[in-house]
Symmetry: C2
Subunit: 349 residues, 2 copies
Amino acid sequence: MKKTAKAYGAKSATADLEPMTIERRELQATDVNIDILYCGVCHSDIHTVRNDWKGSTYPVIPGHEIIGRVTEVGPNVNNFKVGDLVGVGCMVDSCQSCNSCQHDLEQFCENGATFTYNSPDKHLGGQTYGGYTTSVVCDQEFVLRVPENIDPKGAAPLLCAGITTWSPLRHWKVKKGDKVGVIGLGGLGHMGVKFANALGAHVVMITTSPDKADDAERLGAHEVLISKDQDAMKAHANSFDFILNTIPVGHEMDPYLSLLKIDATMVLVGAIENMREFHGGSLVMGRKRVAGSLIGGIKETQEMLDFCGEHNIVSDIEVIDMQNINEAYERVTKNDVKYRFVIDMASLK
Amino acid sequence: MKKTAKAYGAKSATADLEPMTIERRELQATDVNIDILYCGVCHSDIHTVRNDWKGSTYPVIPGHEIIGRVTEVGPNVNNFKVGDLVGVGCMVDSCQSCNSCQHDLEQFCENGATFTYNSPDKHLGGQTYGGYTTSVVCDQEFVLRVPENIDPKGAAPLLCAGITTWSPLRHWKVKKGDKVGVIGLGGLGHMGVKFANALGAHVVMITTSPDKADDAERLGAHEVLISKDQDAMKAHANSFDFILNTIPVGHEMDPYLSLLKIDATMVLVGAIENMREFHGGSLVMGRKRVAGSLIGGIKETQEMLDFCGEHNIVSDIEVIDMQNINEAYERVTKNDVKYRFVIDMASLK
């Protein structure tokens, strides 16, 4: 018997989100059914609702920062039991056999990962529906264990904002004593600061806004560098071991590249759009690098959640009711949130 | 007693090169005096003569692909003796004590490497003078040993074009079986093809010009990919382990980034100027990287020369007399040379 769930979604690129009823698939042998407690609001949700990246198929039910409790497990589920606190992030399936999947990089599955929403649904046809809903059915391989000691509301954004910043910090081996810059203090940036601090780095928040200094330091930054202050930028030239760039829109890169040490890397995680011109010499002089990074694999996501449990790290959030999602979207687009909205799904039940 | 040498140089950004007489410093304890046999003509020579990068101080005596024989050594020279075949590349000095120098990256000397021409001269004041001359005095630490079994004329461009392409291939650990792209078939690109081939890679010449295909294959390319052929570009998408980008001017990067595998790097060595806009997603989707690389350190340059001796690799060149340098410059700016001009310095003596 197919399951239904209450949800909130958009019927078109210009419509507000509104209540809907969606189908969830019947539980398969390796499936876990999850009662959703909280779901974070990611900027990608808004881009998909508004079809900014094209390819949106309506209705769109967004949400890929899902926290809930297991209510049912299929007969072959061996990792989870009823009552477990779990999470589902940006992906719900992948081929599990290609080179990327075998290297724990499901986000780059060569046969196409199934993303949590607006991705072709192998089970029901049509598109996948995300976490702005009361329940989700997901294969156990894509279900994450959430430590019971951390606040589950604050844990929701770890599933996207968390892993998106954790993955590059780990992949580029940020370690104790490294000087790490985090550019931009938003949903991603505030997690980057917390993680880099917890990894033992000397963390510098790089921002255009002097008024973000206090908050950056509260979150774990040891210094704040105002990128419009040319003297300050010069004083930090060629000194960073790693820079995590969370700016969500296209921007100039040369001023930030000037901050990198020889052989150091700046990783873009926020801007899936055109970057402005940059000077070849900004990379050539110092063998510097620019890279990109996309969320992270499932194994790495579990490692991140375990680390958060050990270090008691969650996101700074504002909790909203499902019914207030449209106002929340307006505020996100104005960067008016510290630092992530999380929907309390009890409001939909 | 100060030495003088016959030379060719430019008195201003708009002047042709003309005969001059320059001073060379007296031999110091660790200096080697070199009778110059050949000097390659690098595009950087022209940029400096024409003040394209600003900061040129006249007269400019270019030339940093120098091959010659030792005629005299200082009392503390222990690496070279009279008669040795040697080379001098882009640098003639560095502090030898900073972090970069201690890691064999003299090109990034934190106290400023002394480049072979148009760099502040610590000994005589003014600017250093390059290799378009009959002799040069150089500290032994910056003199390279040239294998006697390779053609000394063809060896000249190894000192810049050679190390510029060798260094990134080695630093990014190109190995047997890797699929390596070399973009652009000029002075740099033709060396990139030879080296990548000799390192055992599957080499793909990536060019806009179908008429370069035969020559690319003669030089060692296993395939030729015409970058304007969109079907061909798609067929090669996400398949390259490494791309060496020798395009000498600013250009679009997205089409080339699409060729890289997950985690693979494209290295810019040619364009010290503005690159066009590129899409953040070109890096984010696949955790791809763009880097820059500048010549190479002295130790690595010696390794490259030794490798050339073992594999009998030299540049493809056209030999000219010193007096024909101005015509050669015109031809270089039109890419009308296969693949490097080398001045026979006997013409100046």
